[in-house]
């Protein structure tokens, strides 16, 4: 589904990604961990097409297409979803309207008819249940006045609405209390099928109790320096990154 080969990217002349190699297949869950500033969020942003970053080398194949050739919106319509670490507030634009436009843009891209108002409402109610999102929130402006937990639930609600092939969740667990974490993580698990894939970026093992990864990668200084299975996350939680980083230096 996703093949990242020797990806280099920089921001304002500073190289952040220094040769990322990563392959994600349908049905898999990957976790990306690593110390602050190692490039985790940058990787997510570059895959999504954030124009703040410049790709200086490498290639990315997504569903057989060269991802880097496409605009941000086309990547999204092709089935790439980014769960934002800091979801953005959009005053005056209601959640319901925002998602309706997004869903229908995606349908148009696939050559499908737009949803009728009734179909859309039904879909929205059904998907709100995935993360126990209060449907009243859908009549409010996007993320405006939402609590930290509501914002993150709202990201997963949007993921449910858009049904992406690949979801990259950038620190979706940050700032969540135990209950919200359970709801958000369980929501992600419910959405996982053998047809799609999930990449979770996280600092904490606790998220991975719910979203069990097939692979855990450690990103350090812009490269994946180690890949293990779910037990790696436990080890990192106990021992930190030092043992890996020290190895890496040698």
């Amino acid at each position: 589904m996703l093949k990242v080969k020797n990806l280099h990217a920089s921001v304002e002349g500073k190289e952040i990604l220094r040769g990322i190699n990563l392959e994600v297949k349908a049905g898999e869950v990957h976790a990306i961990m690593g110390p602050n500033g190692s490039g985790k969020s940058t990787l997510a942003s570059v895959l999504a097409g954030n124009e703040k970053f410049t790709v200086t080398a490498g290639e990315v194949e997504f569903e057989g297409k060269s991802l880097l050739d496409y605009s941000i919106e086309d990547r999204a319509r092709m089935g790439l979803f980014l769960g934002f670490q800091y979801p953005v507030e959009i005053p005056g634009v209601t959640m319901a309207n925002f998602m309706k436009i997004a869903v229908n843009e995606q349908r148009k891209f696939r050559g499908e008819e737009p949803l009728s108002a009734a179909e859309y409402l039904k879909l929205m109610r059904e998907k709100a249940k995935v993360v126990e999102l209060d449907t009243k929130l859908t009549s409010r402006a996007v993320n405006e006045g939402f609590s930290g937990g509501e914002k993150k639930k709202n990201e997963i609600f949007q993921m449910a609405m858009l049904d992406p092939k690949l979801a990259i969740l950038d620190e979706t667990d940050s700032g969540l209390d135990i209950d919200a974490l359970r709801i958000v993580a369980t929501g992600v698990t419910k959405l996982h099928t053998s047809e799609n894939a999930t990449v979770v970026i996280t600092h904490y093992q606790r998220l991975l109790d719910y979203i069990v990864p097939d692979y855990v990668h450690v990103l350090y200084k812009g490269r994946i320096i180690y890949t293990g299975d779910k037990s790696l996350a436990l080890k990192l939680e106990k021992e930190g990154y030092d043992w890996l980083i020290n190895d890496y230096k040698e």
């Binding site: 953005v88 959009i90 005053p91 005056g92 925002f98 436009i101 843009e105 891209f109």
Partner: protein, 271 residues
């Protein structure tokens, strides 16, 4: 709903609109040269004024004690208008002005009786080489009145938008509660916004606030919307629409809302 469907849904008036006490009516005036509006004590009115021609227009409104008026004014042509509202005790005014392009609208609200309340919401939206002006002056002449003047402007292309606000509080107008706020969105580096929010206060026991901001499009919000599959142009329009609709969509008349919303959407495609 289209503009003309909205207009045809109301009772047409010209030159004079008089509402006696306890009467409730909705009326529309199209390009009035002069219009005198008189609401007797206790009357409730709703007046829509539409400017489709580039003419000069004068509106004089008198709200007797306890009268209440919703006034919606829409500019689709470059009209020059002066609106003066006299408010007696416990009267209420809710005014919304929408300038969809070049226009010049001046509002003067006189709060003459205790516990009179006024709320003025104004908006201009300009593109190309358009020039819009909006002036809201509220005079608190007696004690215990409240006023809110909220203006928003959006300027794209090489257009110019100008807001002038003045809240005047007379010496005896104690316990005045006045708020004045102006927020603007600049869409291009060649567009210009001028804003002059002013207070002139001679009483010493008042609550008055004023503020003005000029900002630009939120690129993070555009990125967020694009990541959900919405193209850049539409994301920009959504953001501008969100900025302006917050102000004009708190309205009491469904057909006005829907007509204005349609005109706004069409305008957004041009700036």
């Amino acid at each position: 709903m289209e503009l003309h469907d909205m207009i045809s849904g109301f009772e047409p008036v010209a030159e004079r609109l008089t509402l006696s006490g306890k009467e409730q009516r909705t009326a529309v005036a199209v390009d009035p040269e002069t219009l005198d509006v008189e609401l007797a004590s206790g009357a409730e009115g709703h007046l829509v004024v539409v400017h489709e021609k580039p003419t000069a227009s004068t509106l004089r409104v008198h709200l007797a004690e306890g009268a209440s008026l919703v006034l919606n004014e829409l500019f689709v042509a470059e009209a020059f208008t002066t609106v003066e509202v006299d408010q007696e005790a416990e009267s209420r005014l809710k005014l919304t002005a929408v300038e969809l392009g070049s226009a010049n609208a001046r509002y003067t609200i006189q709060l003459r009786g205790a516990h009179a309340e006024s709320e003025v919401n104004g908006l201009f939206l300009t593109g190309g080489e358009e020039h819009a002006e909006l002036t809201i002056r509220t005079n608190h002449l007696v004690a215990d009145c409240s006023s809110r003047s909220i203006a928003r402007g959006v300027a794209g292309g090489k257009s110019v938008g100008r807001f002038e606000g003045m809240v005047y509080v007379a010496k005896d107008a104690q316990r005045t509660d006045a708020e004045q706020q102006n927020r603007n969105l600049l869409l291009s580096d060649q567009a210009r916004i001028e804003t002059m929010p002013q207070l002139e206060i001679y009483a010493d026991d008042v609550k008055c606030s004023h503020g003005a901001t000029v900002g630009q499009m939120d690129q993070e919000a555009i990125y967020y919307m694009r990541q959900r599959g919405i193209d850049e142009q539409q994301a920009r329009r959504l953001q501008i629409a969100g900025f302006v609709e917050e102000l004009v969509m708190h309205c009491d008349e469904e057909s006005w809302c829907s007509a204005v919303s349609e005109l706004l959407e069409a305008k957004l495609h041009t700036i």
